[in-house]
Symmetry: C2
Subunit: 436 residues, 2 copies
């Protein structure tokens, strides 16, 4: 670690320049949820694939129902049912003059018919007044024959959804780069796609280091604290869309740490460590990471830096092992590691996923605070806050201390105080990164 | 189905009155992600659990470093290291006059010491100029002994994080009703909780019906279309936080449908069907759902209604089987079923999860459209649109047809045209439900 101080932007730029989207994979639709499309998806079939009825009713010829009214209904002979899923009328029949076919929503318009009369505009074949619905086929099979009285005329193509009126072959269904969410999955299924080429979810290994770390549920003995980083960052990685593996705290021993990371590389698209990156005598992450993986292959190596930010000054980034797996070494304080995750790891994960916009939304908001917020000169400070969208205000929670994890759990935003700001007065505006 | 028309609000109210939050379960932290806390979580340990150093440096007595400068350093005898995880100095020693302990970030302040001097304010025990960092213990074990020159005085308690300064025993860590996200998981781990009592993720069975439905990847034969609802709604249920099971299309046969639903009840906290709820002769969902489950037990039954909405007029809701499992029967058109899911199923899922606010955020936005939007009188219409937060505008995509699933995949909002609106002019304001 040299005396150079790096800016937040320089560090992030270096990370994003080194991390590349994962190689694409063909996945079944349910597995592709949340992933990014690699190719434009072009429609191969027309939707709907055939002219079909948008109502339950009767398929008729226009001239047969001209001038029809409840008093003077058009009386038509029902020649059969066309249900959804049928290819048309039984025996390939068509609707001739004076005839009607009973038709269900989504069923193909039979040959000869020019429009659909909704069942509510007819007597439903009962010979009584206007029908509210069709008689169920299972109760009254005779509904598929006999006579129907039509009470109103219809225009050509009325209640008919034309073939290709939704999409046509050759249409662009979804652009490369689209995120496959529920409606996109619906569209892909509707056009017959059972699989789609996407970038897979990145596999993130989160590993906390520190001899002081006990696992939650264990008894705390002198000098120890509970490991929270591995839990919080695994959850945050999952929240970002990754498959996350948590490796419980590794003690401050370079050999153990190196062996553990080497073991994990097999299932890692990116490795995140916490702790051991500062200037102490037992900060073994730096020591361990100089020779992880295959020492004969160029493994990149990890660079440790001081950043002009608070919290989160000490940071490591590089790649390790024969596959040049990216590794981010975050500081160990819970708030420092969480803020570092938001600023550096999350964008790296979203980049691996193939997303274009890898940043949390940020807004300008008015500082709602009793006293001025102070910030060290030359450092970008990230304070935890709660954002009120209605009022356009942000209120700091907890203090600047990087151990205030209780306050972090109340926050939904980071308040950014730039390098040249040493004091931010109540009522002034600040940049706010929205965490939810 | 009677002639009564129900409003959207009445239908939703009936659903939310009948659906109850699931019984709580004790889950390990990683499994509780996204779930809702059942109890207030009270802190049992102090955080930090002991006075500890916020820097890598030297634990000293104040009077020993009074007036120290680089020119006239205070020279102290290093009596040992206190690393993170240690209970204190070796052999229970304390820091006496003229002595210092080398201390690491997070390590307990040893007895006798009153403050910490950062290593950068000392020579790091090298006898040379100001140190940038400590020598690694593995390289230079002598750093834990010898002398250190301190270049600056410190105030009492400087660089010491006091026991309990984050949280104290008895403090409220998280309120009942909080959603367990990454920072909350971090806090729970930090206070030693390995498990937490939450409401489990609801298990949602999504089942599409219709003899016309082919599975994506299959060849389409006459009159058939691809099943998209089961894919889209399973994904949407998962997106809402549920564990979702997709049951591929069931043909329009009441006996098969009844048997399939009975089979599924074992893994369902809620059942969602699509299709078969309208007025056609083959709408078997209604027929089948009158006697699902144990016929001798009161199973509730399912009520089928016409709602004053477009799309989505025909809807069914009730409970089935011996456990009174809630069931929502949605219409079969892809856009109708998706809009119905958003309006009725998603709030039901969030209610099962124990959330208080079960609604998507909605905003007022200006209609950015060339021509007026028309809406049927007496019906609440939901049009698909894209919302521009910057401009505060919403632009309709696709038409009002409920089969326009391609447009749905481009939308990120629903434009709501109320019952009393028949025409909405460009430039006027409308309510917009944000889908992302």
């Amino acid at each position: 670690m040299s005396g150079t101080i790096w800016s937040v932007d320089e560090h992030l730029e270096d990370i994003l320049a080194a991390v590349k989207p994962l190689e694409p994979i063909e996945l079944h639709l349910p597995d592709a949820q949340g992933c990014v499309l690699v190719d434009d998806v072009v429609v191969q079939v027309a939707l709907p694939p055939f002219d079909n009825s948008s109502m339950d009713g009767y398929a008729v010829r226009i001239s047969d129902v001209e001038g029809a009214s409840e008093e003077f209904p058009a009386v038509l002979t029902v020649i059969g049912d066309v249900a959804a899923g049928d290819g048309g009328l039984p025996d390939g029949r068509s609707v001739g003059p004076g005839e009607a076919a009973r038709i269900m929503t989504g069923a193909p318009l039979p040959a000869g018919a020019e429009a659909v009369v909704p069942v509510e505009w007819t007597d439903g074949g009962t010979g009584a007044g206007p029908a509210e619905s069709m008689r169920a086929h299972s109760d009254a099979p005779e509904g598929a024959s006999g006579e129907v009285r039509v009470h109103r005329p219809v225009k050509p193509r009325a209640h008919v959804r034309a073939k290709g009126s939704d999409v046509k072959p050759g249409d662009l269904a979804l652009r490369a780069g689209s995120v496959v969410g529920p409606p996109q999955i619906g569209l892909l299924a509707a056009i017959g796609r059972s699989t789609v080429r996407v970038r897979p979810r990145p596999r993130v290994v989160v590993l906390s280091t520190g001899s002081e770390l006990a696992q939650p549920g264990e008894e705390l003995t002198g000098g120890r604290i509970y490991d929270s980083n591995s839990f919080a960052l695994t959850a945050a990685a999952r929240d970002a869309g990754a498959i996350a593996y948590r490796v419980p705290a590794v003690a401050d021993d370079a050999e153990t740490l190196r062996a553990t990371i080497e073991d994990q590389l097999i299932r890692a698209d990116i490795v995140v460590t916490t702790g051991g990156v500062s200037v102490g005598a037992y900060d073994v992450v730096k020591e361990a990471l100089s020779s992880v993986g295959d020492e004969d292959a160029a493994g990149g190596g990890v660079d440790f830096r001081k950043l002009a930010m608070q919290p989160g000054k000490p940071q490591g980034f590089g790649s390790i092992g024969p596959e040049h797996t990216p590794l981010l070494a975050l500081p160990g304080n819970p708030v420092s590691s969480y803020v570092s995750f938001e600023l550096f790891v999350r964008p790296a994960i979203l980049t691996l996923m193939g997303l274009e916009d890898v940043h949390r939304p940020s807004v300008r908001a008015t500082l709602d605070t009793d006293a001025a917020l102070s910030s060290p000169p030359g450092k970008r400070q990230f304070l935890r806050g709660t954002y009120d969208a209605e009022a356009g205000t942000v209120t700091p929670v907890g203090g600047p201390g990087s151990h205030l994890i209780a306050a972090l759990a109340q926050a939904d935003a980071l308040i950014v105080l730039p390098e040249d700001v040493t004091s931010a007065e109540p009522g002034t505006e600040a940049e706010v990164i929205l965490l939810r």
